[in-house]
Symmetry: C2
Subunit: 342 residues, 2 copies
């Protein structure tokens, strides 16, 4: 099959994925137009579902009284949650803003009707949570669509399920999956707030990937996102350009956090006891951004902040696509640029 | 905040969402380059996670022996699953291809480590499934990224969890969330196979949306996706162009199934007993596609097939975006075109 997404389209998807945030504190009061809401709900409705059962419903909440009631339950639940932590952790927790229920113009509850297509569902017999998971896929579709529409979304999970059911009249047979706040925002943070505020750090992808068996390291994939750009001819053993014979076109994708943070805690013990097979040099210098995206079509606020974030953190991911022969000169130019910059 | 996604970028995201398919039968054997795999895994790793715990791992399976072992379990599970259905339904089930385990060059198991950040997790205290759901968000990110990379993905849920654990060495404390098949494909189907083959139909979005309370209809949102295009000045009560004062630019988004199928079974009893408040005329004529996307930048195979699908099914969704003033002439032209075409 011919590739049916252009590089620009692919980049746009990655842009949504990498710039999506869990928004709690930047909601603006202006209403979300119905047609925008329709589009993002349609995106949710086009999520995959087990046996094509489409078990979701969407309760759009704009009534301030309903929001206040749910917010009151959040306040109770959050006190309980805070009490689970001790000392400094509790102090930090208490300073986090964890919801935007009243400020966000729209709240949205996504539910799962487990009986939607009868008791036997194709694909659910052996993995009974599949219908719940389908609804989560709908949440993520909606979240990304909202991001592309310029809408922030925050998932509030510090609620008592019973209180939520009561506030929204959700019957016993229906499972609430997600309670979301959404609306236009003053800005999107360049990094997740829980990272900025010191709660936890992003883990290095390479520690999370195994090959063929739990804990068996995958030395070739993925290439460590914290590495500086590797292009063909520079250090191709570290960043293998391709296994296919075609020439390649390079472009940068836009992960705001491609690197393990310099000196940062890992937050997870590496499953294998041995040292990782590649040195990490994420903190050794400024980012090298090569290729099309860097040169560069994207001048949006997010991209600028991502690039600022990159240049302080010092990493970029260069990647190559199977592409037509004419792209090879781009590769060479990009490769040259990368070498001279590093 | 200024809009930071262009209309083209937004459309690209919707294109991925609406053209994503659960692929079982069209895998090609050519390998997936490591750097492509890295990108889609990085997309998964940038999913939202409760308390930023990032509880996922990714086991990349390419060993034919491991695949065969898992396929053997699928065969057993599938016999059991088939036996759950009777008569014609069983016969139809038996003709469905429900996995591509051996054909797909890459299988991928996504798991959840519920203890990754200790026993108390920010946001999980009151909704204990949140860590599992975070991993599902990662699945959906990966699925969309794969689609934009031209890779098909199929989620196989007809497996015994114990067999899967054993085949991959997954320890007891780790929860397998998803087993995916992925690879390049000969083509993407324009419609979900379970729909094409008569298993179930897509539900009308309007039946799934409530306002402020369970089963309370949302008459304004969403506008019925099965409606023919409504633009400002034609039937704006049915498709309200906007609540904001700005002029609008129209463009079509690309849902392959915007319409309730003509004469199709609904598959779900409408929760409210009364008639829906708007007539459905999805089957009354060919699609009217207005605006930029229709006129039209997208000539990809998918878009062509979507348009073919549309013209036989008879519907399109026109939508409006907040945009700059110069767009108003586009609106008027599109509106005129739509009226003369309908």
């Amino acid at each position: 099959m011919e590739e049916d997404f252009t590089a620009a389209e692919r980049d746009a998807l990655y842009k949504a994925i990498f710039s999506r945030r869990d928004v709690r504190g930047q909601f603006r009061p202006d209403p979300v137009p119905d047609e925008v809401l329709t589009r993002i709900l349609l995106a949710a409705h086009h999520a995959p579902s087990v046996g094509f059962m489409q078990p979701w419903n969407f309760i759009v909440v704009t009534d301030p009284q309903v929001k206040s009631r749910i917010h009151a339950d959040f306040a109770r639940a959050n006190e309980e949650a805070e009490a689970m932590f001790d000392g400094e952790r509790r102090s930090l927790y208490s300073r986090l803003k964890l919801e935007g229920i009243r400020e966000a113009p729209v709240n949205l509850c996504i539910t799962c009707d487990r009986e939607r297509s009868g008791s036997v569902v194709l694909g659910r017999t052996h993995m009974p949570a599949m219908d719940l998971y389908s609804c989560v896929c709908a949440v993520q579709n909606l979240w990304l669509a909202a991001r592309a529409e310029g809408l922030g979304v925050g998932w509030v999970s510090i609620l008592h399920e019973d209180a939520l059911r009561e506030a929204l009249g959700i019957p016993e047979r229906i499972v609430p999956i997600a309670y979301l706040c959404l609306g236009h925002v003053t800005h999107f943070e360049a990094t997740p707030e829980l990272e900025t505020k010191g709660w936890r750090k992003r883990l290095p992808l390479e520690d999370l990937v195994f090959r063929d068996r739990w804990e068996r390291r995958a030395p070739e994939i993925p290439s460590p996102p914290g590495e500086r750009v590797r292009v063909r001819g520079s250090r191709s053993k570290d960043f293998q350009a391709s296994r296919t014979p075609q020439p390649h076109r390079l472009h940068a994708v836009h992960p705001p956090h491609p690197s393990p943070l310099p000196g940062g805690e890992r937050g997870i013990a590496p499953p294998s006891a041995g040292p990782t097979q590649r040195a990490r040099n994420a903190s050794s210098g400024p980012a090298v951004i090569v290729g099309r995206a860097a040169s560069s079509s994207c001048s949006s606020a997010v991209c600028r902040s991502v690039q600022a974030d990159r240049s302080t953190r010092g990493a970029a991911v260069a990647s190559s696509h199977s592409a037509s022969g004419r792209a090879s000169s781009t590769v060479q130019a990009a490769s040259k640029r990368a070498r001279s910059a590093s």
